[in-house]
């Protein structure tokens, strides 16, 4: 049995679904961030699969930009989480609802 594009896409689908589950179910803000990273990795697995089975490197350039975005996003999100912690002494996303009407 040989490996084809479908195997990469199925792996990406699985990672995406686990990421969504983590984002939806976790209460700790850092847990939500973990879910977002899983989703971005799912996109990258798909891109690498397409790159392998299309013969071009362009998809890998996109994957590199996704990694850059993920790093920037993690830094800003951590900064926001630390500010939230400073104000509320926890990072429970269920209780961070100051703007709620």
């Amino acid at each position: 049995m040989s490996i084809g594009l479908y195997h990469y896409l199925l792996l990406g689908t699985f990672l995406f679904a686990t990421g969504v589950v983590a984002v939806v179910t976790r209460r700790n803000a850092i847990g939500v961030l973990i879910g977002v990273e899983l989703i971005l990795n799912a996109a990258n697995v798909n891109l690498v699969g397409f790159s392998r089975y299309s013969g071009g490197l362009d998809a890998q350039v996109f994957a590199l930009f996704v990694i850059v975005l993920a790093a920037a996003e993690a830094a800003v999100a951590l900064a926001i989480i630390l500010q939230l912690f400073d104000k509320r002494t926890d990072v429970d996303v269920d209780r961070a609802s100051s703007l709620k009407g």
Partner: protein, 165 residues
């Protein structure tokens, strides 16, 4: 069955196990370490697919950067884990149903579509090709990405400064 097929399945198993544990383990510290397993699996997948530069970047940026950031975040907000205790996860059943439905829908869509694929190219170094693309066709995007990184990191440093009270 060639070595690359076996390696693909080994790394796919690592990725799947790490991803599942990162999503489902109740404690966020355990989730971060599962995420390490998952990222290393993804790195292996990149290597098997011949994306050597991406594999190295994945290790340097994710394992060396993002995961360490997460570890620091957990350290600095440690009281949250204590306060939440075993209640760190909520709506688990709804979330699982949502995830399974989402995965099923996507798999159906993938199975139902036809992709124009070329034969897998023989594995060779990608660093030179990526460099030429980044500084050639994608130079504008490359410059935008560096500006974005600068803005994001300066913004993060500004956000975490001590507020004058």
């Amino acid at each position: 069955m060639g070595a690359d097929v076996i390696l693909f399945w080994v790394f796919a198993a690592m990725t799947v196990a790490g991803g599942l544990m990162a999503a489902l383990l109740p404690r966020v510290v355990h989730a971060v370490f599962s995420l390490l397993l998952c990222f290393l699996g993804v790195t292996g997948i990149y290597a098997v697919a011949g994306a050597d530069f991406l594999a190295v970047t994945q290790v340097v940026v994710y394992v060396g950067g993002v995961l360490v950031l997460f570890a620091f975040g957990i350290l600095l907000t440690g009281r949250t884990a204590l306060a939440l205790g075993d209640k760190e996860v909520r709506h688990r059943k709804t979330g699982l149903v949502l995830g399974v439905l989402l995965a099923a829908g996507l798999v159906t869509a993938i199975k139902g579509s036809v992709f124009k694929t070329a034969a897998a190219t023989p594995v060779e170094g990608t660093t030179e090709g990526l460099g030429k693309l980044l500084l050639g066709d994608y130079i504008i995007l490359f410059e935008f990405a560096s500006v974005l990184l600068l803005v994001a990191l300066v913004g993060a440093a500004y956000l975490v400064r001590r507020q004058p009270s």
